[in-house]
């Protein structure tokens, strides 16, 4: 097992290298980060030349990538434009954990910018994921145990609709119902934008209230897909011999379901969750944009639109690492839960 983990980690490096090279080449050509630096005025040609020299944007692509990857401490750059490189570089490079500094918010380290926002995104994602798992297990099992009943048909139908819904539609509809119309009808309504009401301040209650609608939107869509999956797994499992054995030896139904069937039906869900993390992160971009939630997704959009390569690359690399890690952890958990599985 440890050899398997070791090999997977080794394999991750070339993978990340390909990803980063691909994304870097795309990013560096997305636009002109200098265009908006002069504020409202058009950046003057002299300023432009000086800025691109100082930020290293005048270097050939391979050098820019190299500096991003391994830093430029080992070389000297020409800062004053006289043609002779004199200033030693200060960047350490991604391999040493230095993601560089943002081009837009000048000089602020990328890692600080991301770390400002990451907790906000996790604040949405983790509760959403917990609710999704609990809800889909409950609904899926319930539905499977009453196969072809009216309630099962209703649940299957609803989950199919939920699964086909684009997240923005759920988000906008829930905003419209719980935010706008509840207010109109004089019912207690939920806040729709931001993380807290600036008039009240960032209190726990405020943040909690603002979390409800984004989490609701993310949950509806994901839980719909998962509960379909749990249902079909459960239907498969309850026809197995060991379930009949458990029933035959007189085990109460509750224990058969919870102890024998559910355990085996829930197992493949681990894989699905692990594989779905990228999807969830993608959904976060849209959700955060709609609800004006100051998380990573919005950070990504904001900095992408201004061609801030270091920040965008930082976010993308962190996400890729998260995806690779979550897949590895999924494999490990799966092997741990199911002793029949052995990796070599």
């Amino acid at each position: 097992m440890s050899r398997y983990i070791f090999r997977r980690i080794l394999q991750a490096f070339p993978l990340l290298f390909i990803i980063s090279l691909m994304l870097f080449l795309l990013m560096i050509n997305t636009g002109d980060p200098l265009a908006t630096m002069g504020g409202r005025r058009v950046t003057r040609p002299a300023d432009r030349e000086r800025l691109s020299r100082q930020l290293g944007l005048d270097q050939p692509y391979y050098k820019q990538y190299l500096f991003w990857l391994i830093g430029n401490e080992w070389t000297q750059t020409d800062m004053d434009g006289d043609g002779t490189p004199e200033t030693p570089g200060v960047r350490k490079g991604v391999l040493q954990g230095d993601f560089g500094t943002s081009l837009v918010t000048r000089g602020k380290p990328v890692i600080d910018i991301i770390m400002d926002r990451l907790p906000n995104t996790l604040l949405l994602m983790i509760p959403a994921e917990v609710i999704v798992i609990a809800l889909s297990l409950a609904v899926g099992v319930y539905s499977a145990l009453r196969q072809y009943s009216l309630i099962d048909h209703t649940i299957t139908g609803l989950s199919f609709i939920g699964y086909s819904m684009p997240i923005f539609f759920v988000a906008l509809t829930s905003m419209y119902i719980f935010g706008v119309n509840f207010k109109r009808w004089g019912l207690p309504y939920l806040p729709t934008v931001g993380m807290f009401d600036p008039k009240v301040g960032k209190t726990t209650t405020q943040v909690f209230l603002h979390m409800i609608l984004p989490i609701f939107s993310m949950t509806v869509i994901t839980a719909a897909g998962y509960s379909r999956f749990v249902r079909s797994q459960m239907l498969e499992v309850i026809t197995e011999d060991y379930i009949r054995t458990a029933r035959a030896k007189g085990l109460p139904n509750r224990m058969v379901i919870a102890g024998h069937a559910l355990k085996n039906a829930a197992l493949p869900l681990v894989t699905i969750i692990g594989l779905d993390i990228p999807l969830l992160l993608g959904g976060a971009v849209v959700t955060e944009s709609i609800f004006a939630w100051p998380g990573m997704g919005r950070l990504f959009i904001d900095h992408l639109s201004r061609s801030d390569t270091p920040v965008v690359m930082g976010i993308l690399i962190m996400i890729s690492v998260a995806v690779i890690l979550s897949q590895l952890i999924t494999d490990i958990i799966y092997a741990w839960l199911d002793p029949r599985i052995r990796y070599h």
Binding site: I19, Y163, F168, L172, T173, F300, L304, I324
Partner: protein
């Protein structure tokens, strides 16, 4: 005794008369899936709506801005209301539907071509080619599709000029969106095709083709590919729904198809600022997207059952 023989004959005759071609059997299985049939009908109506509507209203009307009529609520003149610059939303949903459906279909064509090629080559040749292609697939898989789409949309944004096609103007961004959705969504299909090819290439008919000196390309495309068409069709159908949603996501975030060309997705751009004051901005295009995606998913579900004889029909 005689009666039972007779009834046997009758039963046999019944079986004989019921012998159906595979295509007919497929259609029968599909028909049993009521929601799939309904989905097909709704899709037909949606196509009729967006392509038939174009005969009644010219595109200029859909793109006509009237700043005096900004954000007016649905009325007799404008059944779906007007948007932030006073364009008629009803007419825009007609033309937007054309582009959204067009993007959905064309992006899937790109997806299928790339996915099938990579999957087929990896699965058929195996070895280092397989290793290389699968590493690449994995790398593409590791960045969430939406992030990749947004980076690419920004990368290609504004680099393609406006196109004139069939007497109409298309913003170059339509082509960009089609291509980038296609090249960021083929990975799943490639894996399915690869798995199929890996098992099929060991079969006798492939061996037979080899011994008669058939070329590799011919084996791939004429012998193995037709045998793995079912999963490709199903996944392509569902891919259309995904492509329409992807277009809506990027356009929604402002990096998709640029106005004045309407799509259901870019009609939603910025609509969240008007959730309270002008809900018709997003309700109509949004519902059309949901309806389309739902119908396509039902059809895909039906096709999966229809194309796979082993699947138990479980019509919803």
């Amino acid at each position: 005794m005689e009666a039972s023989i007779l009834s046997d004959v009758v039963v046999q005759e019944e079986i004989l008369t019921e012998a159906l071609t595979p295509r007919q059997m497929m259609w029968m299985r599909f028909k049993r899936h009521k929601m799939a049939v309904l989905g097909l009908i709704v899709l037909f109506l949606l196509v009729l709506y967006s392509f038939g509507g174009a005969f009644i209203y010219p595109e200029a009307e859909a793109n006509f801005t009237n700043t005096k009529l900004r954000l007016t609520s649905p009325s007799e003149d404008h059944p779906f209301g007007t948007d932030t610059v006073g364009r008629d939303i009803f007419k825009r949903t007609i033309y937007g539907g054309q582009i959204s459906l067009l993007i959905g279909l064309s992006a899937v064509i790109v997806e299928v071509v790339v996915g099938v090629l990579i999957g087929a080559i990896a699965g058929y040749y195996g070895g280092w080619i397989d290793g290389l292609l699968m590493r690449f697939t994995e790398a593409m898989f590791n960045v969430p599709q939406l992030f990749l789409l947004l980076v690419m949309a920004k990368f290609f944004g504004g680099k393609i000029p406006t196109l004139h096609f069939l007497g109409r103007e298309f913003s170059g961004s339509v082509i960009v969106i089609i291509v980038i959705i296609g090249i960021t969504s083929w990975m799943y299909l490639a894996r399915i095709v690869r798995a199929n090819f890996m098992s099929l290439k060991e079969r006798e008919f492939v061996l037979a083709a080899h011994t008669t000196g058939t070329s590799n390309a011919s084996i791939i495309f004429q012998h193995i590919l037709p045998n793995s068409i079912a999963p490709i069709v199903v996944s392509a159908t569902l891919g259309v729904a995904n492509a329409i949603i992807s277009e809506a996501y990027i356009s929604f975030l402002g990096l998709g198809v640029q106005p004045p060309t309407a799509t259901w997705g870019n009609m939603l751009e910025g609509a969240y600022n008007y959730v309270e004051s002008a809900p018709w901005l997003w309700i109509f295009p949004g519902s059309l997207i949901v309806l389309t995606v739902l119908s396509i998913n039902f059809v895909g579900d039906g096709l999966r059952d229809a194309l796979d004889p082993h699947a138990i029909v479980e019509a919803g």
